[in-house]
């Protein structure tokens, strides 16, 4: 299976990941190589096999729906790129 440069651009957009124009061909080449490796899986019959997400098939543990954390906003915002009045600033979304 081979990925084209256009497909790589589409995936990069889905991932909101900027990639340099001159690197696109090399990503297409590397990803195609990885997909080639993955075609090996197709030859194995996995009908009726349950997908495995946790090695001990443990399910997500639930906890009491209560407050466990204290307010750390100022600590967390101290490392943010841009904040104002306790809010994270991003470029304007709605005109």
């Amino acid at each position: 299976m081979t990925l084209t440069a256009d497909e790589v651009k589409k995936i990069a957009y889905l991932a909101r990941l900027g990639i340099d124009q001159h690197d696109i061909e090399s990503y297409a080449h590397d990803l195609s190589g990885m997909l080639e490796l993955m075609t090996q899986m197709g030859a194995t019959n996995t009908d009726g096999v349950l997908p495995m997400a946790h090695p001990m098939d443990q399910t997500q543990r639930l906890r009491v729906d209560g407050v466990t954390e204290s307010d750390n906003r100022s600590n967390f915002q101290a490392i943010a790129p841009q904040v104002e009045a306790g809010l994270y600033l991003v470029p304007k979304v709605i005109e």
């Binding site: 995936i11 991932a15 990803l31 990885m34 946790h54 090695p55 997500q60 967390f76 490392i79 470029p91």
Partner: protein, 483 residues
Amino acid sequence: MHTKSINVLAKGLRAGEFSSTELTQAFLARIKQHQSLNCFISVTEDLALQASKQADERIAKGDIGLLTGIPIAQKDIFCTQGVKTSCGSKMLDNFVAPYDATVVEKLNAAGAVMLGKLNMDEFAMGSSNETSYYGAVKNPWQTDSVPGGSSGGSAAAVAARLAVCATGTDTGGSIRQPAAHCGITGLKPTYGRVSRYGMIAYASSLDQGGPMARSAEDCAILLQAMAGFDEKDSTSVDLPVPDYQAGLNADLNGLKIGLPKEFFGDGLSNNVAAAIELAIKEYQKLGATVKEVSMPNLNLAIPAYYVIAPAECSANLSRFDGVRFGYRCTNPQDLTDLYTRSRGEGFGKEVKRRILMGTYALSAGYYDAYYIKAQKIRRLISDDFRKALSEVDVIMGPVTPSTAFGIGEKIGNPIEMYLSDIYTIAINLAGLPAMSIPAGFAEGKPVGLQVIGNYFAEDRLLNIAHKYQQVTDWNQQIPKGFE
């Protein structure tokens, strides 16, 4: 002092032969002296001296924990409050963690003195430490060779005696492979044994932290302090932690070793195979018996891993968006530009490759063909191990197909790099514990023996490694220039 074991150092500290401050200063001086190995991203000298002073006060009062006053180093994937936690990435070059990882909290509570944060492949994605934003780490055994990865800084620092021991993490071999390449002892615990809270996530269903040290005994002490159930990690397993030192000397007579024929086929270099065979003979002398076992789906481990790990990584790394912490591009034009350029400029090439792969595997129309298929293959591989481990006590084989390769040798060919993890990746898919034990040398570079055990059999693995280290001295060898 830098060549002594944790227990010997602890005894010396208790007896007042030297102080933790002196010990810490000695290691800080070694770190400076051997800066060219590039093991550390941050050396936290002031904090270390402060911690060693506190340790000395504790020791004077007789309040002694497992690691009180022992200088250790943390892989830079573990969040350390008030200290830069970069994960080897430009994305987090400005990130000072606002909290401690559970592992860090536990090691601090045990009295360990942190010397600094260790270099690693960016976001733990790599097998050579060459993907680090901070540059490659050099292997102390041969400085033009890689130390392995992703815990390359940890392995090289322990091998060069720049820290008594170190933490590592292992998603596809990242503790065992660098341990093998640097001639140290490393243990990847059972998935869920060590808390992942505050350990920056790569592939959450595979990531596991563990100890890296010079001996199994030191690993036992370090694991004792690291392991245990944690409310804050929803995949942490709630089982009691045994005393890992208690069984170290148990007799190995009657131990059943399984040798998977798939671990000894094409691709394994002759000199590594020869060292592994000698190690297994040593175990036979200790009373073990050997049986061939089979892992028919082993060849599917790499394809399955390179679907599952990138898929999970693409989801985990979406948190790095330039909004709340980490790198942000300058003058973003709009929100999409902010995300796209911050991520594009903050991540290195291997991380981008895996995010792209994972995004593709999870995208509409491909999810079943890749992700679900890989999870089914994962179960088949896990079943192979279950079957083998019902016939034998442990599985043994090589950690790597060859000894450490040259810096620059494989970085241009990602697929070739991925294939170097052929013997370690399947163990992460199954979630089993496994160790890398120094088992000799080939062309002057260390060879690692891999020992794979059943779920939560870390104590048994440590015992098996310790007994071998009583009758061999591979783990005590020191690279030239670092004596």
